[in-house]
């Protein structure tokens, strides 16, 4: 399939005072691709996103959008991008439709387009509501409506569902999923919810401390873990848990300090589980909880950094 680059990030570096926020990152997003920038707080996602949005300039390197730089094509790029920033507060004293009409006017569009995007994000019934009276989820959908008002080629969403309850989050996901199906939009979204990245995006870039740790589809990322793609996760009684350790030559394991659980990565649960249980029985260690499952993005992140995504 012929692919056309929508966004090219070439060896981009950005620092603030004495903090190196982005350390020489390179990647390309093709047209029509939905890509998630996944990483914990402080990974450099927002800084990278703001450089793509043209809000910040890289110290080194180059960012091209449709082959054009911000420096020479600012006006043009502003017209093809749809942006939702992290935690934007809109005008409290304006109504939803008035806010959209204002942003429509920046693109020389009329009120008809405001109504269209309102329906697109399921906010039609809140048309005359004051922005300050919207719930968190509704505000995020308003932010999304503003991002979509110019019918953008490229959508850049910075943590669009952070702080939302599961229902509100799923509503946003459904809207984005529908956009993907019905419009040929390119999207980058930053998140620290792995299920969000998994659900919405075919491509995932995992970032930590200003670097890219992994880049690919969910399956590619999981299979890159040297064949071991299944997890045995268990918890112990408090008395047994103290000082408990596994033989590192025998098992690829790590301890989740937050939840006091041990996680063993295996190639095949069916063949690995019985000898493991037998060994625990012989050592008279009582297992309190046991879960066997396929590896997730969160597990990949832990295996790469030793930390959880939500830390």
């Amino acid at each position: 399939m012929l692919t056309t680059p929508a966004i090219s990030v070439n060896n981009v570096v950005k620092s603030f005072k004495d903090v190196l926020a982005v350390k020489g990152i390179t990647f390309t997003i093709n047209k029509g691709e939905y890509c998630a920038l996944l990483g914990p707080n402080g990974a450099g996602k927002t800084t990278l996103m703001e450089m793509i949005e043209g809000i910040q300039n890289p110290d080194k390197g180059e960012i091209l959008i449709n082959g054009k730089t911000w420096k020479s094509h600012e006006h043009e790029l502003n017209r093809i991008l749809g942006i939702s920033l992290q935690e934007t507060h809109f005008f409290d004293k304006l109504k939803v439709i008035e806010t959209l009409d204002l942003f429509s006017s920046f693109y020389d569009l009329d009120s008809k387009r405001s109504s269209e995007v309102l329906n697109l994000v399921n906010l039609g019934d809140k048309r005359s509501a004051y922005v300050k009276n919207l719930s968190g989820g509704q505000r995020q959908r308003l932010s999304l409506a503003i991002a979509l008002i110019n019918n953008p080629e490229i959508l850049l969403l910075d943590e669009p569902t952070t702080g939302l309850d599961p229902t509100a989050r799923r509503e946003v996901w459904e809207i984005l999923f529908r956009l993907k199906k019905e419009h040929n939009i390119t999207m980058i979204l930053t998140t620290h919810y792995m299920e969000e990245a998994d659900y919405l995006c075919e491509r995932i870039i995992i970032m930590d401390k200003g670097n890219i740790l992994a880049d690919g589809t969910v399956d590619e990322l999981i299979s890159s873990n040297k064949g071991a793609t299944q997890i045995i996760e268990f918890g112990l009684d408090e008395s047994a848990a103290y000082g408990f350790s596994l033989d590192s030559h025998k098992y690829k394991w790590e301890k989740d300090e937050k939840y006091a659980k041990w996680r063993i990565t295996v190639e095949d649960i069916a063949s690995s589980l019985p000898p493991f249980l037998e060994e625990m029985k012989q050592k008279e260690i009582k297992i309190k909880s046991l879960e066997c499952r396929k590896m997730t993005l969160d597990d990949i992140f832990i295996s790469m950094t030793g930390r959880r995504l939500d830390e």
Partner: protein, 359 residues
Amino acid sequence: MKQFLQLTKIQYLEFFRVPGVIFWALMFPIVMAWGLGLAFNSKGQQERTIAWVQTSPVGKIMKDFIHGTINSDKEQVKIVGNKKTGFVTYHFVPASWQDATLMVKRGKTPLIISESTDSVKYFFDPKNPEAQLAYLQLSAVIGQQSHEENTEQIQPLDQKGMRYIDFLVPGLMAMNIMFGSLWGISYSLIEKRSKKLLRRMIATPMNKTAFLASYFVTRISLSIIEMLFLLFFSWWYFGITVQGSIPALVSMLIAGNIVFFGLAILLSSRTSNTQIANGIINAVSMPMMICSGIFFSYHNFPDWLTAIIRQLPLTLIADSMRSIFTEGAGFAEIKQALLLLCGTGLILFIVGKRIYKWY
């Protein structure tokens, strides 16, 4: 043009949808003019307390002055003055010397009277104008044969243009222009930056000039409305009229808005913290409000300071407006101030825009 109209529309909506803003912008100057105008134009009596260190029994001089039954433990009241100079009710509070000095320290009295058998002594801080006035007034009547002042040569100046309210109203108008711009523009812009709204708006093809122009146009029109409210009230309640040129007054209002618009852009150019915004706006506006002769004349300041105060934007506006209101001034008298204000505003705006942090 479309975005300019939309931007201007939201400025109005934001203004008129906050009842508190309407009160502070439109009603507060009126309440202030009414309160201060009434306080300083009132023909009612002023009250003053005097600490009275007595002899026992009370001496003849004070007995003659108070002229009535004297209970040495109780406060004695005596009204001094006449229709032309106004009346002052003096409350003579009996006190020991120690208590009397304590009353002065606590600001309860400006003056101590101590009497002996054949004379009265006055103790007060000569730098305190209130004490000085009380001394002059009391020493003119205590111990004198006639307790009435000679009023033949006194002619009260209470015709229009010479009252305190005539001095106050143009000053309040100037102050309104300053606060309207600094809070209405500076604070609003800094708040938008702190909420990341400015960043969001600028990430569209929004025209920055249209954005700033919408603030300017809204502010000028609101300023005219505010002035009309105050003008109407002052005319209706105090009978104040504009003796000079109305077009010159409108020009001064526009020039005032230009200078404070430039200042507002400069003050809002960098910070995204609303608490710092509070500090910056207060640091700039308060000294001007105190020094620029809004409530009281700045001519009592030292000469070197007066020379500086005269050049402050708020002083230029207040003095010019006053001359239009009470001296019948026109363009000729205010043209220098107009040019200075517009030029300063333009320079402040250019500097502010150059260093402006949009993100």
